[in-house]
């Protein structure tokens, strides 16, 4: 069994959380889906959003909450993403739009450009996106000058999966074995969780 798991820290790009024919358990809020990966590919780093939508961000101002539609996945697919900003704003992540990510009791931890040298392999930014359940972001410009844009770079993997619980690929015995801990399965959290939820 390959040594694959979420939040894996290593030098360079990160590993996928599953390979072909590996079982995964997708968690989206309180929903759980047992699936099997039947295709995966790497996604090179790309600019997934300018949070200001080309308008720039005025001095000492926050943006509204903006959905990152470019991180949405097709049906039956999930994406595994790490990301960082390339403009000097603090970025708050929500996943989905109504649930804070990186939420502590008294603080929602933001990401800024410092992440590139404080966490060079971006392990702490790792998120997964199930189908079209995309995350959202807000940016805060603390400078006394306007920013021309607040752009985010994302990189990761795309996984296509088949449903083990229903349909032609269903395998109730395998699901039962996974639930009993008798078959390997990687849990993939594709959303945040509300405090106390």
């Amino acid at each position: 069994m390959p040594d694959l798991y979420i939040f894996k820290a290593q030098v360079g790009m990160f590993d996928p959380v599953a390979l072909q024919k590996h079982n995964v358990c997708i968690h989206y809020q309180q929903n759980v889906h047992y699936r099997k990966v039947d295709f995966l590919e790497g996604i090179p780093p790309f600019q997934c959003i300018d949070i200001t939508a080309g308008a720039g961000l005025a001095a000492a101002s926050p943006t509204g909450r903006v959905n990152i539609v470019n991180l949405e996945m097709a049906d039956s697919e999930f994406g595994l993403w790490r990301w960082y900003p390339i403009d000097d704003a603090q970025v708050r992540l929500y996943h989905p739009s109504g649930i804070s990510k990186f939420q502590l009791r008294n603080l929602q931890v933001p990401i800024d450009m410092n992440i590139l040298f404080r966490d060079p392999n971006l392990v702490s930014t790792e998120i997964a996106v199930w189908q079209n359940n995309r995350p959202a972001v807000e940016a805060i410009n603390g400078h006394a000058f306007a920013l021309g844009a607040v752009r985010l770079i994302a990189l990761g993997y795309r996984f296509h999966t088949v449903n083990l619980e229903s349909g032609k690929e269903s395998d109730p015995e395998l699901v039962k074995a996974i639930k009993a801990g008798k078959e390997p399965c990687t849990d993939v959290w594709c959303s945040g969780r509300g405090i106390g939820d």
Partner: protein
């Protein structure tokens, strides 16, 4: 695109015109980034580069501090020469010590000739 390195995030301030001499005429040349809505708010800056352009202000010096506007002191750096009609560039480590400030950076010319002024621009590394 701005840069991040182990010194912090490198940003440039605006070009600021210094039109009056003396610490009493000091003006802000770089504002520490602070915003109530910013989740982790305490920032400081290290000055990396100072560029001066002398607009017929005569040979003079420019002082950089982090006191209040109109107060100027305390001074952060030795006086930097500004030569009449020329552009001067100063770099941390090479031309002046690397200093950190938690307050806005202000600057003022020691003296000006006639209607001459000095333009100043800073490059800093934001820490925090």
């Amino acid at each position: 695109m701005l840069l991040a390195n182990k010194e912090g995030i490198i940003v440039t301030g605006p070009v600021v015109n210094l039109a009056a001499a003396g610490a009493g005429a000091s003006v802000v040349v770089f504002t520490i980034p602070v915003l109530v809505g910013q989740l982790i708010g305490l920032k400081s800056v290290k000055i990396r580069k100072v560029i001066l352009h002398n607009n017929a202000a005569g040979n003079t010096t420019v002082l950089i501090g982090n006191g209040a506007v109109g107060v100027g002191i305390p001074v952060l750096l030795p006086a930097l020469d500004s030569l009449n009609g020329l552009t001067d560039s100063y770099t941390a480590e090479a031309d002046f010590p690397e200093v950190e400030s938690f307050a806005n950076i202000v600057a003022w010319p020691a003296a000006l000739v006639g209607a001459g002024t000095i333009d100043i621009m800073l490059e800093v590394a934001v820490i925090g």
